[in-house]
Amino acid sequence: METIWFFLWTLLWAVYFVLDGFDLGMGTLMPFLAADDVERRVIYNAQGPYWDGNEVWLITAGGVTFAAFPNAYAVLFSALYAPLLLLLFCLIFRAVAFEFRGKVQRLAWTRSWDVCMVLGSFLPALLLGVAFANLFMGIPIDADGVYHGCLLGLLSPYGLAGGVLFVLMFCYHGALWLELKSEGALQAKACRTAYVLWPLLLAMVLAFLALTGHYTDSFERIAQHPAVYVALVLAVVGLVGTRLVLSSCTLMAWLFSALFIVGLTFFGVFGMYPGIILSSLDPAWSITIANGASSPLTLKIMLIVTLCAVPVVILYQAWVYYTFAHKVTEHTLNGEHAY
């Protein structure tokens, strides 16, 4: 049961990275891609009907950590106090930028919200990468789950590598999404960006895997559960696949990119299994699925709720993606509810 929840927990993070990843990526790329206000608005509206629903996956991932692994939730959130609150402020400004930006037609106003959008996209991508890399490596917590480190301690070479990897991964993912949703010059720019980003992403993945071998015990742990290599295979298929179809079919390229993100997330997170929060001070102080999980009754009820509700969520979210599958055009931007 605890393993099922570890799997579902990983899955929630993976889905969040796939869905909000393209939002954050597009926001990060905005200053490089959008030449004028119209193109910036295309970028906003390409996330328009989705970003809110996408972010709920983060809330759910957080909520499920709380529900299924309360000890891990308690230690994780208090240990990563500063980066998490920074992430929170970024997401707040980013969300508000959508709703507020178009309400006043003044240059200083729109430019200010654009800054919020760019920073509010780039920093969360970076922070999530840094946070997960540090989790893979282990963080300095003692037997009571009290954190003995500082914010700068998280910015080790490996932590930073994780951050850069996430930024590149989301930017590539976002460029593909923008290519799907836009037309003309912006679409061409998005396409060129994807071509430029892919080799960088490949290099960063290889570097990150090498660093993982050096800084973490992930590969030793995975050696005991070789099934986890399936995730790595999926990630490789995704990464190679997305390049192969890049010139022919953008939607397929995006889906392969999504597969890559899912595979990489599973490979990384299952590298900690059965640990959820590894202690870098003493392995015995780590929080694992054995000492971190909720009671069997809670896990059972949560499983029933999840298995009933999440498929329905996926159905109606898929319907929304289908309904708004059109490109963002001049006509869309003139709609009164466009951002």
Binding site: Y73, A74, F93, S294, L297
Partner: protein, 440 residues
């Protein structure tokens, strides 16, 4: 500064700020759904323009409700990690269920509604706003069930040095939580009603789009009156729950120190917590306190002096908030009744037209006061008689909390000012003109 104090201050500020946006989302979503249903049923263009006008205000308000809600979910872990570890088995699962069954629904359909005017059919579009209204109010239910567990824990067993779930049904049928839910919900819907009435009155006084705003009044006036009455009923019911499950809070609400039967309610009271008595007590209404607590003017009400000193909540803020809430509740019933009486010719009553816009902030303040009663009155417990607030705080440096607290103050002040200013300018603008409304 003191870690516990800072953490409590931060939680209080962020939760109150969150609750500036929640009640309007709950109340206005229902009214929007009714308006759009009327449009679909009658085809009357006014109802369509009305839905769009209020919808714009709804969306500005909605986004801040979302982002300030995420803050709270984070904070249980960042600032109250001991609490989260101790009761996460129950409390965490309620939050997770909220996200999966309600929050997804709300966020997804609000997007369909906001962007779908030209993309989906009329009926599907109307369905979307009903889903938003349903999901928002459902989400409130799960959050209140979680809060209800903190007020009156049920369905748990102490095992493995924490509270573990042993009866899910008892958690979701917690009578305290349901009483709290109906009180919260009716007050939020009433707030939505006064919001619509206030802005409609402002426009009617200026003869802007009078036909449309008259319809708004005809719709909102009975709604607001019914809700104002229900708030009172639900409040009385909840008062009895408090008396039964949290006698110390009840006594603090009335600054009632000595146990007695046929306990009176004094119209003028000022508590002196240090001495365990009141500075002033004047103008008693015999038996009213017993009636509030037990629906029986002869019942015995336990006084604060009979509780251990460590278990008594801060009396003054609990007492003042309660008094303010009750007085306002009475005022709202009177105002709603007056408006309902004049609903057909509101413009003939310039006094009411001038008054109603100024009423808009009052339900907000009253709801805040209500939460102050619920949360300050629960102290010193974070989970009533199960865990003390002082044992719940995260082992983080007080300096970190101070920095984040200042950050929240700065960011929230900025966002609050911008939001109120946007709501103000957008609501003054009024609906789109009828001529420009032809379908694209």
């Amino acid at each position: 500064m003191d870690l516990i104090l800072l953490s409590r201050l931060q939680f209080a500020i962020t939760v109150f700020f969150h609750f500036v946006f929640v009640p309007l989302t709950l109340g206005l979503s229902i009214l929007l759904a009714i308006m759009e249903t009327l449009y679909v049923r009658t085809g009357d263009e006014d109802y369509r323009r009305m839905t769009k006008f209020w919808g714009k205000l709804f969306l500005i308000n909605f986004v801040l409700g979302i982002v300030t809600g995420i803050t709270l979910e984070f904070q249980f872990g960042t600032n109250w990690s001991r609490y989260s570890a101790y009761v996460g088995d129950i409390f965490g699962s309620l939050l997770a269920i909220e996200a999966t069954v309600a929050f997804f629904l709300e966020s997804t359909f609000v997007a369909v509604w906001a962007f779908g005017w030209e993309r989906v059919g009329k009926k599907v579009h109307c369905f979307a706003i009903w889903m938003v209204a349903l999901a928002g109010n459902l989400s409130a239910l799960w959050i209140i069930l979680a809060n209800g567990f903190m007020q009156h824990p049920t369905g748990y067993v102490l095992r493995n040095v924490r509270a573990e779930l042993n009866d899910f049904l008892a958690v979701v049928t917690n009578p305290y939580a349901w009483g709290e839910y109906f009180h919260t919900l009716s007050s939020a819907w009433m707030l939505g009603g006064f919001f619509v009435l206030g802005i409609a009155a402002w426009h009617l006084a200026r003869k802007n789009d009078s036909a449309l705003f008259r319809k708004c009044v005809r719709l909102a006036a009975p709604f607001t009156l019914i809700m104002a009455l229900l708030v009172g009923l639900a409040g009385h019911h909840q008062g009895m729950n408090v008396a039964e499950y949290q006698p110390a809070k009840m006594a603090a609400m009335e600054s009632h120190w000595t146990t007695q039967t046929r306990a009176p309610m004094y119209l003028f009271v000022w508590p002196n917590q240090d001495k365990g008595e009141n500075f002033v007590e004047a103008l008693p209404i015999p038996g009213l306190m017993s009636f509030i607590a037990f629906n029986d003017i002869d019942a015995e009400v336990k006084g604060l002096s009979d509780f251990p000193k460590d278990d008594i909540p801060p009396v003054l803020p609990t007492f003042l908030s309660f008094r303010f809430m009750v007085a306002m509740g009475g005022l709202f019933i009177a105002l709603a009744a007056w408006t309902w009486w004049r609903r057909r010719d509101l413009e003939a009553s310039p006094r009411l037209l001038r008054l109603l816009p100024w009423v808009i902030p009052l339900p907000y303040l009253t709801i805040m006061a209500g939460w102050a009663v619920a949360e300050i009155g629960r102290q010193p417990w974070i989970v009533y008689e199960l865990m003390r607030t002082s044992d719940a705080v995260s082992p983080v440096p007080a300096s970190s909390v101070l920095v984040s607290l200042l950050g929240f103050l700065a960011v929230y002040t900025l966002l609050g000012v911008v939001d109120i200013w946007l709501l103000y300018t957008q609501s003054r603008k009024g609906p789109e003109p009828a001529k420009a409304a032809e379908e694209a």
